[in-house]
Subunit: 483 residues, 4 copies
Amino acid sequence: MQKLREECGVFGVYAGAPQCDTNLASTCYYGLFSLQHRGQESCGIVLNDDGVFHAYKDNGLVEQVFTPEVLEYLGQGRIAVGHCRYGTAGSEDRVNAQPLVINHIKGSMALAMNGNLTNALELREELELTGAIFHTNSNCEVIAHLITAERIKSSSIEEAVNRTMDRLEGAYSLVVMSPTKLIAARDPHGFHPLCYGQREDGAYVVASESCALQAVGAEFAADIKPGQIVIFDKDGIRTIDTHCGVVERSTCVFEYIYFARPDSVIDGSSVHNARVRAGAMLALEHPVQADVVVGAPDSGLDAAIGYARQSGIPYGIGLIKNKYIGRTFIAPGQKSREDKVRIKLSPVKATIEGKRVVLVDDSIVRGTTLNKVVKMLRNAGAKEVHVRVAAPPFLYPCYYGTDISSSGVLVAHNRTTEEICEIIGADSLGYMTIKDVVHIAENGGGCGYCTACFDGKYPTKVPVCNRKHRSEQKISEKEERHE
Amino acid sequence: MQKLREECGVFGVYAGAPQCDTNLASTCYYGLFSLQHRGQESCGIVLNDDGVFHAYKDNGLVEQVFTPEVLEYLGQGRIAVGHCRYGTAGSEDRVNAQPLVINHIKGSMALAMNGNLTNALELREELELTGAIFHTNSNCEVIAHLITAERIKSSSIEEAVNRTMDRLEGAYSLVVMSPTKLIAARDPHGFHPLCYGQREDGAYVVASESCALQAVGAEFAADIKPGQIVIFDKDGIRTIDTHCGVVERSTCVFEYIYFARPDSVIDGSSVHNARVRAGAMLALEHPVQADVVVGAPDSGLDAAIGYARQSGIPYGIGLIKNKYIGRTFIAPGQKSREDKVRIKLSPVKATIEGKRVVLVDDSIVRGTTLNKVVKMLRNAGAKEVHVRVAAPPFLYPCYYGTDISSSGVLVAHNRTTEEICEIIGADSLGYMTIKDVVHIAENGGGCGYCTACFDGKYPTKVPVCNRKHRSEQKISEKEERHE
Amino acid sequence: MQKLREECGVFGVYAGAPQCDTNLASTCYYGLFSLQHRGQESCGIVLNDDGVFHAYKDNGLVEQVFTPEVLEYLGQGRIAVGHCRYGTAGSEDRVNAQPLVINHIKGSMALAMNGNLTNALELREELELTGAIFHTNSNCEVIAHLITAERIKSSSIEEAVNRTMDRLEGAYSLVVMSPTKLIAARDPHGFHPLCYGQREDGAYVVASESCALQAVGAEFAADIKPGQIVIFDKDGIRTIDTHCGVVERSTCVFEYIYFARPDSVIDGSSVHNARVRAGAMLALEHPVQADVVVGAPDSGLDAAIGYARQSGIPYGIGLIKNKYIGRTFIAPGQKSREDKVRIKLSPVKATIEGKRVVLVDDSIVRGTTLNKVVKMLRNAGAKEVHVRVAAPPFLYPCYYGTDISSSGVLVAHNRTTEEICEIIGADSLGYMTIKDVVHIAENGGGCGYCTACFDGKYPTKVPVCNRKHRSEQKISEKEERHE
Amino acid sequence: MQKLREECGVFGVYAGAPQCDTNLASTCYYGLFSLQHRGQESCGIVLNDDGVFHAYKDNGLVEQVFTPEVLEYLGQGRIAVGHCRYGTAGSEDRVNAQPLVINHIKGSMALAMNGNLTNALELREELELTGAIFHTNSNCEVIAHLITAERIKSSSIEEAVNRTMDRLEGAYSLVVMSPTKLIAARDPHGFHPLCYGQREDGAYVVASESCALQAVGAEFAADIKPGQIVIFDKDGIRTIDTHCGVVERSTCVFEYIYFARPDSVIDGSSVHNARVRAGAMLALEHPVQADVVVGAPDSGLDAAIGYARQSGIPYGIGLIKNKYIGRTFIAPGQKSREDKVRIKLSPVKATIEGKRVVLVDDSIVRGTTLNKVVKMLRNAGAKEVHVRVAAPPFLYPCYYGTDISSSGVLVAHNRTTEEICEIIGADSLGYMTIKDVVHIAENGGGCGYCTACFDGKYPTKVPVCNRKHRSEQKISEKEERHE
């Protein structure tokens, strides 16, 4: 389905204690496997075997890239970092795959990040003027240069990371591996999640989402606070809080709505519960007389349950997703979008026929796919189709690491809800309000969330010359390809 | 999850009218794609271009085998048949992939079947005594020999098929393509489903399940009746009902419980509704005080909704299945079953924690995986876990085309429900009764279903020297590998 | 280079003695590897493990098809047969890959052959009238049916093979594996080679060419005589000579000229020596004043040495073949034949510049490639280029298992030597005479060779309705593609 | 066979004129294809489309890496560079594949080199102290940093290259691509070859060997002189000769003996002729009474011809190399070296039997393979085997870009010729002398060649802490694997 994409998932493990299992390639594999929803384009793992780094990264899913041969090649180690990434299709991007591994005067360093710096261009130009060389287009390489420069003046890698954070603006959940340490850092706004935990064997695990801790058998310990640096080394854990609380927290609300996995818990709030609450809020704000509530699989299911519970309308399974569709599926011989949608989704007539249907989805990007789904439900006998969307309309581009664009491709751009309703062909359409959306997390207080894509209130300066035009072009190509 | 496997899906299309789209490779592709759940081991398509047959079959999923190059190689045609098949892993089976394509004195013939003959061995020996040569182990080749032998004595291919059916015992949903005709035939017991429909352009489509008609844009016309032969040729449709009603119908009840897709309708009954009804029956037969009903994804979800509705206990999403797991996933570095289950399934703590949970699954084979899932729910904070199974216990081998074995690997073999409950570690366990299971289809009348795997009452003679011992050995290897 | 293609190589091994190495998959691998020049399109190996046959065949080179996994799958055994095959490109042919494995009333049987029957069509029609089914288009399947039919009436498989040979016309070097025996048979004309030997461990090895015996460490024992059947079983070796000497021997002279490997010895004559003699005969028949003799790599090198020795003109290395060109190389971005030739061959200016060059090649099919090579030599500074061809001109189609066609694509068709010389752009052109060619083998006596492609004198009846038209079309497509 | 390896081939093309073909991906493809013998491990091409660089590199042969899809991805351009590389097997090296593409303040730059710096470590440490980051272990990245640093202070890229050359010690044949220019530079010693030419359409082509010019249809113009820089840009060609003649030329003599292709011409001398002369010198220095001279295919053939001509002993084809052996061939089931050699080489009995044989090879590394070849010739009936080697014994490690090691693996290490002769099992053994070897090139004058691997007289300072120990370990692993 026509979806937005998070740009990354990061993972790290520090297994310094003698009793720890050192097969960290396998640990990273499972961690990245459970973060795969955050990036399906490329992935990478770097193992640190007593200061010697073994890295492997390539385009493809974790299962495809990390064959038994590759895992064996990575070998054993006591520290490791991993990354999965969404990016544009094709060979072009392989050089941008993370973690980035570089060598400097103090040895090797590996970095992986989730997010996007808003001052990357300025920082890069400044570095280039001093003779710096760049191999990639990634923000990560800018950060690597800054840390390296600071490292020469600093007594420790963590001090260099701390100083570097003074220079960075924007969103970053970062893991850094030095020859002897694993460091995790989250930007002061806390745009994207980052947490850590501990395995029974004593190994520390850092991950973008708590579901990855669960996947490797680690007990959740804590979210890394906005602005916080956590250091894992032979002396255990230490934190540096210099940047904590210096700006207002503004966590991406879309992590709750769509990006994160429902079994993750971010900053103390269950993602699943947030979605169920979103569904319930939708039911309160946009009630309708109907016979069944169905969710658009998979990400609309939780909110559909919330809507059903709040409204008292029965929850049903109305759409089946073909689970054999691979990542790169290109519908042979099919030219129309109807055909393509029909391959991926199939209506359950028994649920739909003769019913007034509430269809709950998590968001609308262009609306073209949703239009076909509504048609599909009508063809299956739905008397009415009422669409409820568990997010406000997208109107503004995101500069913090997702691919939400301001372009005319967004269906909500310059259109009223009624106009959008007509485009998607529904009997009624209800969006969640911005007022409500900041309350979907259980512990939220109406403040602390970034809602810039809905209201244009950016928590940071935004790039003057943004690269969104290129992105916009890409998004439409991708939709053509992937939806 | 530890699941049973159907052995096949069949598909056929007859596009004889001038206005029909002749890109039937693409039509078969989508048809097989939607039948992929019936067989993931190998697949094949044969196109008939005015009597010249082009065939391609290989091990792998539809998406893997039928690359754009292969589809182009298959070319255009006005009749086509396809098949997807479950079989043992490895290269050994490629020769058994279907459709079978053979040449005889009257030209080419392609056959594809779902099911298993119970007198295959006798028929084969009889044929071999006359000098017949066999290239495969498939029942299909036995049928091909019989049809060929009858064809010489018959005035038409359909007459030869009709005569052949006099010789066949057991389960078969069959499609046969001659140079000019497409023929569909279903065994007199109607063990497995088979139906047909028509596309807007006039092409006729035959498929194991109605979901495949939907996938290629065809309108469902009718189920092929047990014992019926349907012929599609230049004169339109004709039916031969010689074998209809000669024996009592005994449709495999497990098609409703697990094998078929929920959006399919078999012999007039919605599969989804049958599962919801099964859940409701379970709730009546095995009520329990609990806080949430969760389904084991994906095949337990429909019954869970039925249980929830009937019991009034809220339905929740309690387990997330990692959708990036490929067909051949082998967990690297993981030795224990706990680890493997954890990679594939993840509990949603927000749904489970502190709750008394009803877990609805469709069946139990060995029970080892279910044991880990129950543990997983307890670790996520479930106060109680009550397992409800939408099928009676498996006790007897199936001879009709599924891999249900009588072996000691079946957890229900020689065990009471209490003992099984202890093995899976649940607080309580409730199976559906055989008395109930024959009522889950909407139009069912308590008769007409094969429940042999539950009660040993086989609707046909069974093979004296059965091959189940070999199968049993295979099933345990596979479980080790795939679950 | 624009070359003719042999259609097959066969291989078999019987390792019945207790002390024999039973890793026959590996033995077949090396045997086929050394016969790869006889067929690069598909290959197959069948292992007989005490009556249970394990087979694997696919399109591709031996090295590509027989991965370590496949070899392990084939397992151990005491009898095995293998085959490599030239065929048309593409997936279409996989079903025709050999060895053919079938089951009949007496158990399994595997067959592999090199050659072509001239009465295959008649035999097939006769069999089909009795209800026989054919899965492939190969002659091998016709033979399998005949042997099966005779087997029922015979006391042994060898008796059935013997009786079957009464029915076969044309060229066949055949290996047959039954549950307990390995049988090798060569047609009464002895069109294609077949020989056997013995390894130090006592295992018997049968192969199309003696180079394969050398490759597996077996000592050459004897050529299988035209019309002879050799049986390897628990009682050792036995021969049946019923068909020996019933017709005049007519071994394909092109085996010596081009098809066979120079290190093979066929029917007592060294292939290398035959080529050297051919070169010497050319020098006697077509002398020229020149400075250097160069061979067209690789198959013209031996004859070039013969020409040089006889004429006294120095032998030189004038053309280098790029050894990194794979079987499926398709020149990207190159439209002209010049470009394609330039990629594969490169002149050694140091040898050529300012010299009068004699270029020795083994044959000319269409002449287009040779034209480019002559140009290439001139561009490299050759003052004169004199082409000498170690075979007479092709004028007639071959029906015995090679792809020599009678079509207008043959440059010699309806043209004088002068005209051909002009087409290839040489200063002079000399072909070997038919009178000479039958003397190139050391032990030849001017009789006993098939020269039908040169003089149209076919040693057997030829098919009335031949399939050469289709072949001709194919050959031109292939040349476009491969040369 | 047990061979040494060159480490690289470089290629570049400048197609600035309007009439030039801009399909430079294809041009690079053919260029690299003909340089494949200089590096089979990885390859890469970078296209410059008006300042935008498109790069693709991967492990594998040119034909494998540059699929039609990849070539299409690379697109069109007016400047391009390419590289092929020998390196250690496995995934580890992909990051070191060239050309290196980096971005600096003046835009993009791509570099590819053949050779090895002897002061790389010192330069790298110096750069790291200033905060430089390294992504690879390649010398190329050191050069990129130096050029970038100089570029800021220079008015042009060529000035920066010129200044950088002041800092570099060792061997380098370098191509550099800036947004608007192609630059070729050769180290002042001229260790490895580098030349350029022009195509008919006006495009300039730079390549490691002249055979690559021939392959893309370019006319050879000139060798790039030791110490020379050649600039190709919109103003045509310019040269900078600052470093020319500042040190004595010391071209690697092994380029003539083994590395280069026989159809290449290096610094005015034909490689083929050099080898023929080497063979003749061997005949003068080490005459023997014998019946036939055979070369070890493929690289010993030219010298064998020279030996035969000088000695008057007939030249023969005594060994056939199986041309179907792929780069990664691993002999299944074969444990002994005899078996492995037998797969790759086969004796031509007709040439060998009953003869006194002179076997000419280009060099001996460990001697183990040669020992098996000598045995093979004896088994084929050779009465005597006299080995003649067209190079002096290896005794010292090479620091200039080849993998000649000083280790005990070298058979000549601490052994007399008699001892080596015994090890290889020959009747006599003769090496070329160092005195002779410097005369094999036609225009050589006894000076101007690097013979350090024979006599330890290094033309530059050598690294104090050399990495040869690791290399030595690798070479023995490789020999185990590849020979």
